[in-house]
Each structure stands twice: as C-alpha cells, then as structure tokens.
C-alpha cells in the first residue's frame, strides 16, 4: 500500500486528509473520535479573542440542497466561530495534541483586525503544542458583519497586514484561509504570499440562500420567520473550489505557494483531483457531517490503491500533476475534433441524449422508429451534452478524429494544432510563423 504520509509546510500527518475548521472540530470529544477514525489532521474550529464567547442562534443553523434520494449535495450554515470559552478550547487542544503527536493539529483563528488582538491570541495558542495556525479570512456570515472573516478576506491589503503580524509574533507555520466571495482569487492569494504566509487554504464557504420556504416566504434556515445568507459547502461547490485552486497553482505570482484544498471533498477521488491541481493536502467537512468520520477509511484505501496503480510512492508525486494542463481558452487546440459515439449494446433507449440534442443543442442525434439512437456526424459539434445526460456510464463516448480525417460537419480535414491566437476570425490574431 502506498505511503500516504504527507509533509505540508513542515507539518507532518499520516495522510493528507484533514478535517476543516468547522463544527466537527469544535471539541476535544469530536477531535479524538476523528483521530481514532483515522483522520490525518484537524484544523480546530476557529477561536476568537479572550472574553465572553460569541453566541449562536438557537434555531436551525443549516440549510441543505438534496439530490435524488435525498443525497446531500450542499449545505449552508449560519454558525459562527466557536461559542465555547477560549481557555477551554486551548486546554483541550493541548490535551489532544499530547495524546496524538503524529497527527496534524492546526488552530483556526479569527480576532478583530488590530495588531494587539492578533499578538494576544498568538501568544495564547503558542504553548498548546499545536502545529500551526490558520487565519480565518473566509467566513461570509455573521462575523463578517463585525469586520472579521470574509470582511478581511475581501481586502488584499488587510490580508497582507494581518499575515505580517502573525509571522512577526509567532514562529508557527501560518495558513491563510481564503474566501471565494471575491472576483479574482489570485489577488488575496498574492496578498497572503506578500505577508509571508506559508500556505493558503481554500475555499471557505460561499454566500448563499439554499431555499425559500414557500409557505412562510422566508429563506432557509429560518429563525423566527427571518433568514440570512449562509456559507455554502459540500459537493456542489467542488467545481468552484477546483478552479480557484488551479488559478493560484498556475499563476506566475503565486506558483509554488502551498495550498490546502477545501470544497466538497467527499471521496478519495475528489481529494486526488484537488492534489493534482496543486493542493498539498485536503480539508473535509460536509462529507463528514453527512456520513460521519468513518469515510476517511475509504479515502485512505482509495488514494492508496490509486497511487499504487500509478506507481506513486509519495503523495508529493501526485501534487500538481494536472497544473500544466490548465490553460487559457485561447490556447485550446481548435483542430482537435471529436464526435459522439453511442454504444448500441449499452444503450437502454431512454432517449435523453436525443431530447437534449434535439431541443437544446445541435440536432445531431437521430431517433429511429425502434428507438435506435445514432449520431449524425455531419451535425455533431462534439459538445458532450449527450454524454453528460446519458444515465449509463460509458454508453456514449467521444471519438477523436485522426489527423487528416474528414470532419463531415465542416468539410475540413483535421489539421495540426492551431488555436485562437492565430485563427483568421480573430481580429487580433498574430501572424502564423
């Protein structure tokens, strides 16, 4: 079995699966259960300043999006940072770390945006034995109204400033957790790097209203007839997270900055995808909240098997393998031509490909009297929608046309690589060399 030991900015863990700072990591009880279940690390639920802790609502904290069979696709929450006294959390962290020295234990922090507050909290967490700190610049609800969380994460200058304080007053490795509620994720990542961050973690949750109650006309979760936007997470946000991770991984300014990938990681495969796009490890929350801590066993066995199959002996070998293949649209090969092919033996004749293509795409699928569905190559633009809506995996595939083969739709023969930058329709095309 492949060795999953991971070294992330000097923090060692037996595997790259950490629990994200969130409800599952709020207490010693939960964290001990997580470590017993096999989690490689934990980012403790965000601590605030000393003094009376924040309070949470006493009604529902979560809203949900269900898929078929009530499968949880996304959850949003309006829970704040820990509502337990700082001393209790610090005592528990110390106790857990002492008993699990091989596991990663990082402390998430969120205090007011002034130097003294940060200096004070850093001093307090220093002697817990924790492996590092994560700066919560991401939470989009509640705390942001008080000038913390995403209110900081949306201003690159603040990120840089606070990160600098943290590096100045602490020797602990520092991870900056980014909010996705911005227009260009590279700017806050660059600010974190300038401030001296050892790594960034992303994404935090996305501003969201999961649903509206059509009887009370209030957003869910509803507190006494009112609702507020919460932070969205779970499988539904994974595509957004993957893109943001990739943008940081491939940007010239931030390339090489370690990334802890977060956002809808539910299976080993999700984790592997984040890592291929440059994440050194992953953090999980919603999947654990849906299924419990045991899921990490599947993540461990799955990633191990995959690495064995690929001949990888260390997780570091996987990290970033897909980054060179993330590019801009303008560099995509316009002479790469594919056509949909329907495997008639696998086809169950549901006709979803036909409905999708006929109603919403390019009328490139024919339907016969006996419900045989076939691709009209002279109409197929290779959009892939039929593949996406087909309920049978592998039934429809895309065949790549060989160099020199005739594309019946355009009447052109498949040529060698050429992209938009040199295309004759591009007003600013550069002359081909």
């Amino acid at each position: 079995m492949a060795d999953l030991t991971t070294n992330f900015i000097g923090i060692k863990s037996p595997n790259p699966f950490w629990l994200a700072s969130a409800p599952p990591t709020d207490k010693e009880y939960n964290v001990r259960r997580a470590f017993e279940a096999g989690w490689g690390g934990v980012v403790w639920k965000t601590l605030g300043s000393e003094g009376p802790p924040v309070v949470n609502v006493n009604g529902p904290r979560y809203g949900v999006i269900h898929g078929a069979d009530r499968r949880v696709l996304g959850i949003n929450n309006i829970e704040l940072i820990t509502d337990r006294p700082l001393e209790v959390n610090l005592r528990e962290i110390k106790s857990v770390k002492r008993d699990y020295p091989d596991r990663a234990l990082v402390i998430s922090l969120m205090v007011p945006c002034d130097e003294e507050s940060w200096k004070d909290i850093l001093r307090r967490v220093e002697d817990t034995g924790a492996d590092g700190v994560e700066l919560n610049f991401g939470c989009p609800h509640g705390m942001a109204e008080r000038g913390m969380g995403s209110a900081v994460g949306q201003v690159p200058e603040y990120i840089e400033m606070v990160t600098r304080w943290v590096k100045q007053y602490s020797r602990m490795p520092c991870i900056v957790k980014l909010t996705p509620n911005i227009t260009d994720i590279r700017r806050p990542a660059e600010a974190a790097k300038r401030g001296g961050a050892d790594a960034v973690s992303l994404i935090n949750t996305i501003n969201s209203i999961t649903s509206v109650n059509l009887d009370s006309f209030a957003p869910e979760p509803t507190i006494d007839g009112k609702g507020t936007h919460g932070g969205y997470c779970g499988p539904a946000v994974k595509p957004i997270a993957l893109n943001m991770v990739a943008e940081i991984a491939r940007s010239a300014e931030t390339r090489g900055l370690p990334i802890s990938g977060i956002g809808g990681v539910t299976t080993w495969r999700d984790a592997a995808e984040f890592m291929a796009l440059g994440a050194g490890n992953v953090q999980v929350c919603t999947a654990a909240m849906t299924y419990g801590f045991k899921i990490v066993q599947e993540m461990i066995s799955g990633l191990s098997q995959y690495m064995d199959e690929k001949g990888m002996t260390s997780t570091a070998e996987l990290v970033g393998l897909a980054v060179p293949n993330v590019t801009d649209w303008q560099y995509l090969n316009l002479n790469y031509v594919t056509k949909a092919v329907i495997d008639q033996d696998a086809c169950i004749k549901c006709g979803r490909c036909y409905a999708a293509c006929e109603d919403t795409s390019h009328q490139a699928i024919a339907m016969s009297e006996d419900r045989t569905f076939s691709v009209k190559e002279d109409e197929c633009v290779a959009c892939n929608l039929c593949v996406d809506v087909c309920p049978v995996e592998g039934c429809i595939s895309m065949r790549e046309l060989a160099l020199g083969e005739l594309d019946e739709r355009t009447g052109n023969k498949v040529g060698t690589y050429a992209n938009w930058t040199t295309h004759p329709n591009n007003p600013s095309a550069q002359a081909a060399e």
């Binding site: 069979d69 169950i348 004749k349 549901c350 006709g351 979803r352 036909y354 339907m367 309920p391």
Partner: protein, 444 residues
C-alpha cells in the same frame, strides 16, 4: 373453528378469523410518501417514453412521476386521470409487468423497472382520499347517451360524455356498478371496497344516472335505446362462459371460475364461504390464477391449475404465475380434461397429456387423475345475447376506428368489442375514445 384445511369435501371456515384477514388484505398497499419519493427518483424522464407507448391509455408516465417527485401528487393524479378515469383501479390490477414496467428503460438497464403501477396508485389514492373530483362538466348539450354496462368501458365512456355536457344513463344488469372491477378481480387487489368507492367518486362529476338490474335483451333492447337516446355505447362485457366439453362436466362441484370470484367478492363473511379441500382450476388466464389463489387463501389444502398448453402460452403473466406458485398453487402444463369423475358430486378430474402437433393440440393416450372437490372452469368468456343486427367478428361485436359498430349511432368497447386485449385498461381506453367519437358526431 370446527373445520380445517383437512376437512374432506367442500367446507366453510377452514381457517381462523385472522388468517382470512391476513390472506385477503391489500396485496400491495399504497406507498408512503418516502417510498414514493425514492421510487419516483428512479425515473429517467425518457424522451417519447416507452412506458407511455406501452400504456393502452397513453398516460404521460414520466410527467406524473416527476410531479410526484416534486411534491405534487395531486397534479400527478390529474395527469393520470385525464387519460384514464379508472387510473386508481388500473394502478391495482394492470399487468404492469407486461405493459409499462416491461418496457421501462430501467428494466433494460438493471432488470428492475420504476414501480410505475405503485406510483400511479400513490398519486390517485392521494387525490381520491381528498374526495375531490378534478373534472367539471361542460355546459349541457341537450344530448342523451345510453351506456350499456357499468364496467370499466361503460364508466369510462360515461364520465367522458358527462364531461362533454351530455346526459348519460347507464344500464347495468347487476345490483352494483363496476363490472369486473366489482365482480371479477381478486379481492386482495381491490381491498377495502375500492371498486365501489371509485364508482362513487367517478359519478361525482354529475350528469350520469345508473339504472341497475337492466340487462340488454331482457329488460331493454337496442332498438328501444336507439329510439330514446341520441347515441348508444355498448360495454356489457362477456357474460357467457366456455364449456369444458368433458364428460361429467355437470357434476356437483363443477362451477365457473368467474362465478366463484364474484361470489367471493360479494361475500360479507369469508369464513362462511365454502371451498374444497382439493380444488382444480382449468385454464391459463388471470381468471384461473385469481380463482386458484383465492381458493388457496380460503383454506383449500391442494389447489392445482391445469393448462392445456405450455407455460409460455398462458395469458396470465409470469408475475401472476409466480404469485400463484408462491401462494402454494401447483401449475400443471400440457394437460387437458377428459372427464370429471364422481358419484353425482365431483371427486376426481381425469386429464390427458397434450402435445403441440402440426395440426394443433393433440391428446396423448396417457392420462392422470387429480382429486377435486371443486372444479373451476376458467377457459374463457363469450359474448352472450348480442343484439340482432350488429355484425359479429370472432365472437365479438365488430368495430371500426373508435368503437363504431355496424349500426349507425351505436358504439361498443371493452371485452364485448373485437380488438384489443381483454384488460381493464384497454376497456377504459376504448370507452374514452368511443365517447370522444360520440361527442364529435353529436356536435357535428
């Protein structure tokens, strides 16, 4: 309990009260909302869905399942009932395994179709439990239509005609409306008095009068109806029963399966209904299965269905055959009755093995005997007392297009009319389509 399964002869009260209740309880109860949601999730919402094509009434199945999945079973019921006003009964009795569910793409994919029949029941029961009649009548047209037979075809035609604003009178020979829904279907498929509840609900649209105890040829004539009404729809079913043509057929204990089923359906107290210790049912259709299974459920010790051809030729679906064998009924294929033996009362039935030969079914010289206190004949029904003047084709009333008979102003549908399978759902479709045609001709 004085009698048991071992009591010789034909006897009542072979089981305890709880056994009767359990044996004749609803065989496939309404799904609960969670089950319905899970079942509905499996539908792929196919394009030009095969299930819809396979449905004789062309119910938009993907649409109604999506309506269930999105929390509006009442809307789903309206989708069903607009095509099939007896969608509630059809959800219970349709051989879905040979219709919509047989062609479901998930049957193709996984050998496990979407539970269309049970989802249909979930929707129709939900709406009907609210007591609501989702359809209203158009303004009165002043036209009067006579419907003969209050079975699925007649009720379907009557409802559609009433909807169009016509005044409908249904004439039925029996004391209750419903036809085979009330008299000819296994009890556990329509438990809880559903057939009557459905009739009552259907008639709730108004504009329909039912006259009971009026048989065509006995109490009313086609000529009389043609003179008194603007149009006539015939949906009186098949009242005759085929004979065995075996020696000793007239012995006591030999009866028609349809009569046994009807008696059972009307019995207030099942423990008072006698059944043989050894029962033999002759035939291969749904009637044979319903009679056999219910005999077993009433406490018969040995029940055997004997069919003259092979399993694949039985008109009862494989699902129904399996249901029979799981209940404890034995099915013997390739054997035909040659004599009923006994001394006044049936004691044994003698069968000859059969062979499929080029010239037809051939009896072999080898015979065997089965003990039988009761023998139920289930070898098909026939049209009885068809009015003079109507063209008959293959023993049924000949029709063209949407149920037009050879006589102007007279339509026919259901089992008494030629064409289509003798299924409840087919009868509903034929009644509905004839009603549309009657409407078009009356308003022309």
């Amino acid at each position: 309990m004085t009698n048991s399964q071992l009591t010789p002869g034909v006897a009542a009260g072979r089981l305890g009260a709880e056994d009767y209740a359990r044996n004749f309880a609803d065989i496939a109860p309404k799904l609960d909302p969670h089950e319905a949601r899970v079942a509905a999730d499996r539908c792929y919402f196919c394009h030009d869905a095969p299930c819809m094509t396979a449905c004789p009434t062309s119910i938009d199945i993907p649409l109604f399942i999506r309506q269930i999945a999105t929390g509006t079973p009442e809307a789903a019921a309206r989708t069903i009932l607009s095509q099939n006003i007896l969608g509630g009964m059809c959800a219970r009795v349709c051989p879905t395994e040979t219709l919509c569910e047989e062609v479901c793409v998930r049957e193709t994919a996984e050998g496990k179709p979407v539970e269309i029949g049970r989802l249909q029941r979930f929707a129709t029961d939900t709406l009907m439990d609210q007591g609501a009649q989702p359809f209203t009548r158009a303004a009165p047209t002043g036209k009067r239509v006579a419907v003969v037979g209050a079975g699925p075809a007649g009720l379907s035609a009557a409802h559609r005609l009433a909807m169009k604003g016509h005044a409908v009178t249904i004439f039925d020979a029996r004391a209750k409306a419903g036809g085979l829904n009330e008299y000819g279907i296994a009890s556990y498929k329509a438990a809880g008095g559903f057939a009557q509840a459905e009739v009552e609900w259907l008639l709730g649209i108004g504009g329909i009068v039912v006259e009971h105890g009026k048989a065509l040829g006995r109490d009313i004539t086609l000529e009389g109806l043609r003179a008194d009404f603007d149009a006539v729809f015939l949906g009186m079913g098949l009242a005759g029963v085929n004979a065995l043509r075996a020696e000793g057929e007239d012995r006591e204990g030999v009866a028609n399966a349809v009569d046994f089923i009807a008696e059972l359906r009307q019995a207030g107290d099942l423990s008072a209904l006698p059944v043989g210790r050894d029962v033999v049912v002759i035939g291969g259709g749904m009637t044979a299965v319903d009679a056999a299974v219910q005999s077993k459920l009433l406490g018969a010790e040995n029940v055997t269905i004997v069919y003259r051809r092979g399993k694949e030729r039985m008109s009862a679906s494989e699902y129904e055959q399996d249901h029979a064998t799981q209940t404890g009924v034995r099915i013997i294929h390739h054997a035909a009755p040659v004599a009923v033996h006994g001394n006044g009362t049936a004691r044994e039935v003698e069968f000859a093995y059969t062979e499929d030969a080029a010239e037809g079914l051939k009896l072999s010289s080898e015979t065997f005997r089965l003990r039988a206190d009761q023998v139920f004949k289930a070898i098909g029904q026939t049209l009885k007392g068809a009015p003079e003047g109507l063209v008959i084709e293959g023993g049924k009333i000949a029709v063209t297009g949407p149920g037009r008979t050879s006589v102007k102003g007279v339509w026919a549908g259901g089992d008494c009319a030629a064409g289509g399978e003798d299924l409840t759902v087919t009868a509903v479709a034929e009644g509905r389509d004839a009603a549309e045609d009657i409407h078009a001709s009356l308003m022309a």
